[in-house]
Amino acid sequence: MAPTPADMPIPVDWYLYLSAALFMTGVVGVLTRRNLFIILFSIELMMNAVNLNLVGFSRFHENLTGQNFVLFTMVVAAAEAAVGLAIATALFRNRQTLMVDLFDRMKG
C-alpha cells in the first residue's frame, strides 16, 4: 500500500472499516427486515458506504475523480429513491401492506 499522504490525519483504513461496517449493516437490513421502507433505507446505507469508500480512496490517492463520482452516485441514489418510493406507494395501494414476505406470488 502506498504511504499515507502527509496532510491526511485519518488513515484510509479507518474509512474502509467504517464503510464495511455501514455496508454490512445495510446488507443485514435488506436481508432481514420485512418492511419495504426499511429495506429501501438499508439500500441507501449500502450506497453511502460505497460513497464513503470512494471519498476515502480519492483523498488517499490525491485524485478528485472519486469525489466527482460520488456526486453522480448521490444524484442517482436520489432518483432511485424516488422510483423506489413510487413503487412502494403503488404496491401499497395494491396490497394494503408493505411487508415483503407477503409478496411471494412468483413462488414456483
Partner: protein, 634 residues
C-alpha cells in the same frame, strides 16, 4: 428461329401468371382471352419454326442460360428444335388452341373459370417445355410439371370426392413410372457424363457403352413412359382421370400429355434401337395394352370412360409401332390420334353439355337430330378412330399394322387387327347408343332442354373434324408419306442401327389395307346389328350369354381391386403399423419421455423459487462471498 423460340413456352406461362394473379378479382369471366391469345401466338410461332426447320439435317439448339453448374454436372436451359419437336409443337399448340376456344363455351359460368384457364396455360407451358427440351433433365422437369397440371385439372372440381381421389390416383400412379424415369436420367448421366440429347446419342451410336447398360437405361425410360402414357399395368389412372372437365380430358388425357411417353421413346430412338431387348418389351406392352384396353372399352357405359379406354388402347398402338422401330409411324398415329380423339372428347363434352351433365350413355339416345353439328363431327371422329378409309385413323393405324407385318411379327399384327375390330365395335356401340334411336332415355326435363352447343364449341369441333378427315393424307404409305420423310432426319440414325428397310408400296400393303378396312367395317356392322337392328333383344342376350365374362370385363379385369388388395393394402397396413408401432411408441415416447423427465426435475427444484426477493438476495450474497474468497485467498 434462335430469337423467338423461347416465346413459344413463355407466352402461355405469362398467360398463366397474369390469369392466376388477376383472374379472381379482376378479369373473372373474361379470363379466356389472355390464354387464348397466348396460345394463338405460340401456334403462330410454332408454324414459323416448323417451316424453318423443314429439311434441316441438324437440330437447331437455342441456349438460354446455364441451369445447373456443379462440377462436371453441367446442364443448360436450352431448347432443341428438330422435326420431331416441330410436329409436337404444332400438335400441342394447334389442338391446344382449339380446346382453349372450346373451353370458353364449355366452362362458361363455372366459379373456377379463371383457375381453369390459368392451369391450362400452365399445362401448355409445361408441355411445350417438355417437347422443346434439349436434355433429359429439362424434359424431366416438363414431364413432372405436366403431371402436376394434370393433378390440378383432374381435381378441378375439388369439392367432388371422386375428382379429388382421381387426381391423387393419377399423381401416385405416375410416381411409380417417374421413379424409373428418374433413375434412368441418373443412369444416363452416370454412363455418358452428359444429359444433352446430341451428346448422349452420339456416344450411343459410337458404341462405347455396354449393351446391358443401354437396355437398363431404355427400360427405365420406358417405365416413365408407361406411367405417363397409361400402359398396362400403370394404365389405371387414366380412366379415373375422366373426373376432370371434358376439355382437360381432350387436351391432357387424349391429345398431348399422355403422348409424352410416346414422344420420350421416339426421342430416345437411338438408345432403344441399340437395345433391342428393351424395344421388344415396348412392343409387347404396347400390343397387350392395345387389346386389353379395347376389350374393357366394350363394356363401359360412361361415354367418357369408353373414350378413356380407347385412348389407352390407341397409345398401345403407338408403342406397338415403336416396338418394331416404326418411329415416324408412331408419331403419325400420335398426330392423327390427337386430332380425332380431341374431336371425340370435345364431341362427348358437347353431348354432356347438351344433356345437362349426363354422362351415362344408357340415358342418351336419339340425339342425332337434336344436336346435328355435334353428331356429324362426332361421327367423323368415330370413323377416324375405327380406321375407315379415308379418315386419319385408317392411314395411321394401317401404317402401324403394316410395319409390324413387314417386320415379321405376325402375332402383333394379328392382335392389332383384333384390337382394331374391337375398336370399331365399341366406337360404334357408343355412336349408336348415344345418337341413334327415336327417343332419349332420360327424364322429360332433360329432354326438353337438349340444345346444340354455342359457336365457340362447335367451331373447334368442325375444324378438328376436317383435320380428322384429311389429316391422314400427310402419312400415306411408302414413299408418299409426307410426315415420314419430314421426320427422316430425326430417326435416320436409329433406323440405321435397326436396319429398317426403305419403305415401298407393294400389293402386300394394299392387301393389308383392305384387310384392316374390312375388319373395321365388320366391327361397325356387329355394333349396328346388336345396338340398332336387334337392340330389343341382342344386348340382353349377349349379356346373359357372357354373364361372368361380361362382369369381369365391366369391372376392368379387377385390376384396381387387385392393386387395392396388394400394393395399396400393403402400403396402408404398413403405414398403419409404422404409425402405431414406431410413431406412437418410439417418436411420441421420446417426446413424452423428455417432457416427463423435465417435468419431474422441475418438481424437484421448484421449492428453490420461493418468490421472496430476500431469499434470492441471500443467494447472491453467498455467491459473491464465495467468488471473492476464491479470487482473493486462493
Amino acid at each position: 428461329m434462335q430469337n423467338y423460340v423461347w416465346l413459344i413456352p413463355a407466352l402461355p406461362f405469362a398467360a398463366f401468371v397474369v390469369t392466376l394473379l388477376l383472374g379472381r378479382w379482376w378479369i373473372k369471366a373474361e379470363s379466356h382471352w389472355i390464354p387464348i391469345l397466348a396460345m394463338a401466338g405460340s401456334f403462330g410461332l410454332s408454324i414459323a419454326a416448323f417451316i424453318q426447320i423443314r429439311g434441316a439435317e441438324e437440330p437447331v439448339i437455342v441456349r438460354m442460360w446455364q441451369w445447373f453448374s456443379v462440377g462436371s454436372f453441367q446442364v443448360p436451359l436450352a431448347f432443341q428444335i428438330d422435326q420431331l419437336t416441330a410436329v409436337m409443337l404444332l400438335v400441342v399448340t394447334g389442338v391446344g388452341l382449339l380446346i382453349f376456344i372450346y373451353s370458353k363455351g364449355y366452362m362458361h359460368g363455372d366459379p373456377g373459370y379463371y383457375r381453369f384457364f390459368a392451369y391450362m396455360s400452365l399445362f401448355a407451358f409445361s408441355m411445350l417445355l417438355l417437347v422443346l427440351a434439349n436434355n433429359y433433365l429439362l424434359l424431366y422437369f416438363g414431364w413432372e410439371a405436366v403431371g402436376l397440371c394434370s393433378y390440378y385439372l383432374i381435381g378441378f372440381f375439388y369439392h367432388k370426392p371422386e375428382a379429388a381421389a382421381a387426381g391423387k390416383k393419377a399423381f401416385i400412379v405416375n410416381r411409380v413410372g417417374d421413379f424409373g424415369f428418374g433413375l434412368g436420367v441418373m443412369l444416363i448421366f452416370v454412363t455418358f457424363g452428359t444429359l444433352d440429347y446430341t451428346g448422349v446419342f452420339a456416344k450411343v451410336a459410337g458404341g462405347a457403352v455396354g449393351h446391358n447398360v443401354l437396355v437398363a437405361i431404355a427400360l427405365l425410360l420406358f417405365m416413365g413412359a408407361m406411367g405417363k402414357s397409361a400402359q398396362f399395368p400403370l394404365h389405371v389412372w387414366l380412366p379415373d382421370a375422366m373426373e376432370g372437365p371434358t376439355p382437360v380430358s381432350a387436351l391432357i388425357h387424349a391429345a398431348t400429355m399422355v403422348t409424352a411417353g410416346v414422344y420420350l421413346v421416339a426421342r430416345s430412338s437411338v438408345i432403344f434401337a441399340s437395345a433391342p431387348a428393351a424395344l421388344l418389351v415396348v412392343g409387347i406392352v404396347g400390343t397387350f395394352t392395345a387389346i386389353f384396353a379395347a376389350v374393357i372399352g366394350m363394356a363401359q357405359n360412361d361415354i367418357k370412360k369408353v373414350l378413356a379406354y380407347s385412348t389407352v388402347s390407341q397409345l398401345g398402338y403407338m408403342f406397338m409401332a415403336l416396338g418394331v422401330g416404326a418411329w415416324s409411324g408412331a408419331i403419325f398415329h400420335l398426330v392423327a390420334h390427337a386430332f380425332f380423339k380431341a374431336l371425340l372428347f370435345l364431341g362427348a363434352g358437347s353431348v354432356i353439355h347438351s344433356m345437362g351433365g349426363e354422362q351415362d350413355m344408357r340415358c342418351m339416345g336419339g340425339l342425332a337430330r337434336r344436336i346435328p353439328v355435334t353428331w356429324i363431327t362426332f361421327m367423323t371422329g368415330a370413323l377416324a378412330l375405327s380406321g375407315v378409309f379415308p379418315f386419319a385413323g385408317f392411314w395411321s393405324k394401317d401404317e402401324i399394322l403394316g410395319k409390324n407385318f413387314q417386320a415379321g411379327v405376325y402375332v402383333v399384327w394379328f392382335v392389332g387387327l383384333v384390337a382394331a375390330f374391337i375398336t370399331a365395335f365399341y366406337t360404334f356401340r357408343m355412336v349408336f347408343v348415344t345418337f341413334w334411336g327415336k327417343e332419349t332415355r332420360s327424364d322429360e326435363k332433360t329432354c326438353a332442354l337438349i340444345h346444340e352447343s354455342p359457336k365457340s364449341m362447335t367451331w373447334p369441333l368442325i375444324l378438328l373434324a376436317v383435320a380428322s378427315t384429311v389429316g391422314g393424307f400427310i402419312g400415306l404409305p411408302g414413299s408418299f408419306g409426307v410426315i415420314q420423310r419430314f421426320l427422316e432426319p430425326v430417326f435416320s440414325r436409329a433406323s440405321d442401327i435397326l436396319g429398317v428397310a426403305e419403305p415401298s408400296v407393294g400389293t402386300l400393303d394394299i392387301v393389308l389395307m383392305v384387310v384392316s378396312l374390312v375388319v373395321a367395317l365388320m366391327g361397325m356392322g356387329l355394333a349396328w346389328l346388336i345396338y340398332v337392328r336387334r337392340a330389343q333383344d341382342l344386348p340382353q342376350f349377349f349379356g346373359a350369354l357372357f354373364g361372368p365374362v361380361y362382369r369381369v370385363v365391366y369391372n376392368k379385369f379387377y385390376v384396381d381391386e387387385f392393386y387395392a388388395a396388394t400394393f395399396v393394402r400393403v402400403a396402408v397396413d404398413g403405414s398403419r403399423s409404422v404409425w402405431h408401432n414406431f410413431d406412437e411408441k418410439v417418436i411420441d415416447g421420446a417426446v413424452h419421455g423428455s417432457a416427463w423427465l423435465w417435468q419431474n426435475w422441475g418438481r424437484v427444484v421448484r421449492p428453490l423459487q420461493t418468490g421472496r426477493v430476500q431469499n434470492y438476495l441471500l443467494g447472491i450474497l453467498i455467491g459473491v462471498f464465495v467468488i471473492v474468497t476464491v479470487v482473493v485467498f486462493l
